[in-house]
Amino acid sequence: MSIAFYLIAALTVAGGLAAVLLKNTVHCALALTVAFAGLALFFLQLDAQFAGFAQILVYIGAVAILVVFAILLTRGSETPKDGVFSRNWLAGLVIAAGVFAVLGWAVLQSVSVLPHETAAPTVTVLQIGNALMRRYVLPLEIVALLLTAALIGAVIVAMHEKEGAR
């Protein structure tokens, strides 16, 4: 594998590790942004330019900012007195390690039957547009409804309660 792959992989995994291990919550959110950027670079390396730019636009441009806003609005930047890991952290770690072991074993066992490298597909935005409007028009409309519902729902959930209802 090329050196670029290893560099991007190191960046992404380091960002992910920092996102779950750091004590300061805002630093975790910024490390998450680094992980998102690493993933966008992976998508660009896999010739999925549209997905890569959409990843940057949506995740770094919106989700990361959403997370930091939520951290600031819930005073997450103050370090808690009982430490940042929950009481049963060991069980969580063991489960995660188990999941990784199973997934890694599955991948390594099936290396011989995995598809091999085909020629790089040239994906134009025109093809994506066609696909979205012809074959995938139903998922597109459902995602639009979902986003509307999420927008309205998030506003209602986070709205201040009316004074009379308390």
């Binding site: 910024l30 549209f50 959409a54 940057i56 441009g61 919106a62 600031l72 930047s77 935005v125």
Partner: protein, 391 residues
């Protein structure tokens, strides 16, 4: 001769590439383009700071910098020396790593946006199929750097300024994108070079720029408003207004880091003006077909500097909008107008050539604009303001 002058930078690049062995040539071509952008735009930035200070001064009935060099032209050099030699103060409780990275991230992301702008015929650094999407992705990342700057300073005013700035930038990002979607729909491509090519035709000597269509004019106006808000320029500069929040999210920055923020803000202004000229004003195409002999890069840069001039003019003329007025304006006026604009663009496309589409589209747009403006106004009617004085 005309061709040579038009393509002079491309020919220069190819000649320099030819001096190197064949293996290094593609990389050298890209590096030359990057070096050109990195040298040219900060130089333009220096020129614009003088332009702005003199322009604002004249609007405000004073003279502006006139000590350093004739007419104050060498003022940026003095400013550069000042900002480089000032002490770099980092507050003790500030988050040093994030504090350091915020201006860097902003400048890097803004420079990346220049890579897809077609600055002349065949003069685009990377001709991407999804160039517009790439540009907006880079612009979205600058919001994060604003937040990082405000939060890392551990200063209430910085944090408040940063939150306001981020809220403003996110709110105006949606109208910015929606105005461009109308252009993409009519041009049929996300690639900026194809959008310019679609506008590079002339009818009776007049160009086919998108601003000369009803939906293009409305789109350009909403794009301009959203662009002014995205770059935190007056009248949307509450996050960094001097009389409001000290200096907002760059309060705790001194010396070179402040200069980097300043550079980042002006470069963002350049890049979004460049995008506006590409999408609506025809990019590098000449205004009249008989002026086609003038080099294409001259037209691009003059249109961009015209937009900068309008930015400076607006700064000197309009009062600042309050945060809630600004947000109301974005969500309740500009965004519905961009949605109406999208419908108009569709109608334009499907009505076909002829005078009907001009009349229908202009009528619907004027009706929507007047209707929404009237609905948002407290007075309920258009007309001069009547003042009530205390008795």
């Amino acid at each position: 001769m005309i061709e040579t002058l038009d393509q002079i930078f491309v020919l220069l690049q190819h000649w320099l590439m030819g001096l190197l062995p064949a293996g290094l040539q593609p990389a050298a071509g890209v590096v030359l383009g990057v070096v050109a952008i990195v040298c040219l735009f900060p130089a333009l930035f220096a020129l614009t700071t003088v332009f702005e200070r003199k322009g604002l001064a004249r609007i405000q009935n004073r003279i502006g910098p006139n000590r350093v060099g004739p007419l104050g032209i060498l003022q940026p050099i003095a400013d550069g020396i000042k900002s480089l030699t000032k002490e770099d103060i980092v507050p003790l409780s500030a988050d040093a790593a994030v504090h350091f990275l915020a201006p860097l991230l902003m400048v890097v992301m803004v420079f990346m946006g220049f890579a897809v702008l077609p600055m002349g015929r065949n003069m685009v650094l990377v001709d991407m199929d999804a160039g517009l999407l790439f540009f907006f992705a880079m612009g979205a990342s600058t919001e994060l750097s604003v937040f990082m700057a405000g939060w890392s300073s551990r200063n209430k005013y910085s944090l408040l300024g940063a939150m306001r700035a981020v809220a403003q930038m996110i709110s105006y990002e949606v109208p910015l994108l929606m105005s461009s979607v109308a252009v993409v729909m009519i041009a049929g491509s996300l690639s900026l070079t194809k959008i310019v090519d679609a506008q590079n035709h002339y009818t009776w000597g007049l160009p086919h720029w998108y601003i000369f269509t009803p939906w293009g004019l409305a789109g350009f106006l909403t794009f301009a408003v959203a662009a002014t808000a995205e770059t935190n320029r007056s009248p949307f500069d509450l996050p960094e207004g001097e009389s409001e929040l000290v200096a907002g999210y760059h309060t705790e920055y001194s010396g070179f880091k402040f200069a980097l923020f300043f550079l980042g803000e002006y470069l963002a202004m350049f890049s979004i003006s460049g995008l506006g000229t590409t999408l609506f004003l025809g990019g590098w195409s000449a205004p009249f077909s008989f002026l086609g002999w003038v080099p294409s890069w001259f037209w691009f840069f003059s249109k961009m500097m015209l937009s900068i001039f309008v930015f400076i003019w607006m700064r000197g003329t309009l009062p600042r909008l309050r945060q809630d007025q600004l947000m109301n304006f974005a969500w309740k006026f500009v965004l519905p107008l961009t949605l109406v604009n999208l419908m108009i663009a569709v109608l334009w496309r499907f009505l076909g050539e002829g005078w009907q589409r001009w009349v229908f589209c202009s009528a619907i747009l004027l009706f929507a604009y007047a209707g929404m403006g009237l609905a948002g106004m407290r007075r309920g009617h258009f007309g001069p303001r009547r003042y009530r004085y205390a008795e």
